[in-house]
Symmetry: C2
Subunit: 330 residues, 2 copies
DNA sequence: TTGAAAGCGCTAACAC
DNA sequence: GTGTTAGCGCTTTCAA
């Protein structure tokens, strides 16, 4: 900057004014400074500026998701990025892989880099350690999962309600023996979806059968076992509600292996790629990750713009997409 | 930092030493400083430090891809992130959407934030504007597409060769009327893949038929038209080579609409999700985006560690995955 | 409209 | 082992 000032024959402050488009600089000086900057290929250093600037904003936010390579996370990421672009904000992204240590390490790494805000899908059992930051005014918006031990803005799918609608849909097609296949119950979303499943059964006077309920399906092999165990029952399920996209895919594979994919109804939570090209096409309750990311980003910006209201929940509705597998009758 | 120093009853430099784990500090002082830092919830500011630090590294790299929500880009991103994590480097990610203006804007935004290096899949017709940065020592690694107007490290799939192997595979199954459906020919990868297609035909003495070759399929509707036009020929193709994943999916849809998916052979370039659950399962030449991202990140780090050798090409081989659609005989 | 001086939070260099 | 001083590249404050 000094070099540019010397070359243009002005003081550093004038260069600063030109770069930041402040007023009260004559056209002639502006032109001279710009020309000098161009000639020296000058790139301002935002961090040096932020050190002294009043608002201390870095124009950067951090995004923590499950896995940037997972379509759900990727859609959230993309939506956040698009919203950030409008405000010239850069996005740090990090995958957590359900690893609580990684969560804390990533957050610390971002905080050290002085991000203006954080959008996070967390895995640690408590986010109380973020209380200090929140009080200091760093905007925090949680996506998909509610934080524990702290009250903050949260963007959520109406998990229980959506799950209930999926199960209700199966019941409407004559099913009473509806299986539940879900993820680890410690995960907020998994718990909610199971709650919705049970609620839907209750509402229709169907007594839950523990043999038709399996949690903790963290890999395909476990899901395959769970499906074949259920099918081996004297009174096997005639329909399946799978509470997560990877589980849905594993269920499809398992049903095909025994040739029952056209006999047993299936509704999945979360959309899966190519769902309409499979046979049968897969009925799902689809979340709206783009909307979730967009809403989270907007909320961060509201907070950065001075909104200090109480923490809010933003509920993003999901949508039942009927494609075939969920419309198989009992 | 000053506050921590005061509370611990030491000088700021000692705090700095403790934070940076330098030697020559007594255990007792370390403990006192750490305790004070904890009490004040002190978070060091990396940017302030980097301002004065000798190497001026920010521990940050920028990643520019087509679209973080596209599975190929997402896989590259994930691999880059994993490699970066080991070195405690944070990753800025940005989608370009084949928009040249966005390319320049994103790069400038990252450079202003003083990223240590850049991994990029570019879209602008020339990257000559990056020559200055490269000379100044900012490591640049291009992924998937070679830059124009500048010589720099590049990680590539062997596009032509892979396309040729796909077409050869179809020829080995008795096909001589093999269609080519590809993206805009201005894109480096599209051009290379078409070259491979033509080369494979030539090698087997098959004369290319212009009516079986269509470029510029930038959306599904165009692909649908191209497929139905070809099928309406007096001597329609008996096999199709689709040069990009989105095109492959559109071709599948088009073939199904006329019920020919089990009659006409298909090999796609790039893997597609759920490929093995479709009927027929889809044969592809699959790229290895994870390997590409990993290699790109490693190269950046090599450069950061002082390697100043000439720019290199890194060729990542692809793999033919036979699943059914490509093994349909003529 | 412009510039000089001070200072943001930290580290380099050197002194003790 | 530890502290002091200067200065990184910029913006603020205030004077001209």
């Amino acid at each position: 900057m000094k070099n540019v000032a010397d070359l243009a024959g002005v003081g550093v402050k004038t260069v600063s004014r030109v770069i930041n488009r402040e007023r009260h600089v004559s056209e002639a000086t502006i032109a001279r400074v710009l020309q000098a900057a161009e000639q020296l290929q000058y790139q301002p250093d935002v961090h040096a500026g932020n050190l002294r600037r009043a608002d201390r904003r870095t124009g950067t936010i951090g995004l923590l998701v499950g896995n940037v390579a997972n379509p759900f996370s990727a859609a959230v990421h993309r939506a956040v990025e698009d919203a950030a672009l409008e405000r010239h904000i850069a996005v740090f992204a990090s995958s957590l892989d359900d690893d609580a240590d990684r969560e804390r390490a990533s957050i610390e790494a971002f905080l050290r880099r002085r991000v203006d805000g954080l959008i996070l899908t967390t895995v640690h059992h408590s986010q109380a350690y973020l209380g200090g930051e929140l009080e200091q005014g760093t905007p925090l918006v949680f996506v998909d999962r509610r934080p524990n031990g702290i009250v903050a803005d949260t963007v959520l799918t109406n998990n229980a309600e959506s799950a209930a609608s999926a199960v209700g849909h199966l019941a409407e097609h004559g099913h009473t023996r509806i299986a539940y296949l879900g993820d680890n119950e410690e995960i907020f979303t998994a718990k909610e979806r199971k709650r919705g499943y049970l609620e839907a059964l209750r509402r229709r006077g169907i007594t839950p059968d523990e043999r038709l309920i399996t949690d903790g399906l963290t890999d395909d092999a476990k899901t395959a076992v769970a499906v074949s165990d259920m099918l081996a029952l004297d009174d096997p399920p005639t329909a399946i509600f799978s509470a997560q996209n990877l589980i849905t895919i594993a269920v499809i594979v398992a049903l095909r292996r025994v040739g029952l994919e056209h006999q047993i109804a299936l509704v999945g939570f979360d959309d899966i790629p190519m769902a309409d090209l499979l046979s049968p096409a897969v009925t799902v309750v689809a979340q709206d990750p783009s909307a979730m990311g967009r809403i989270a980003a907007r909320r961060i910006f509201e907070r950065l713009d001075g909104n200090t209201g109480p923490a809010r929940d933003f509920v993003v509705p999901s949508r039942l997409i009927q494609r075939g597998s969920g419309e198989i009758r009992a």
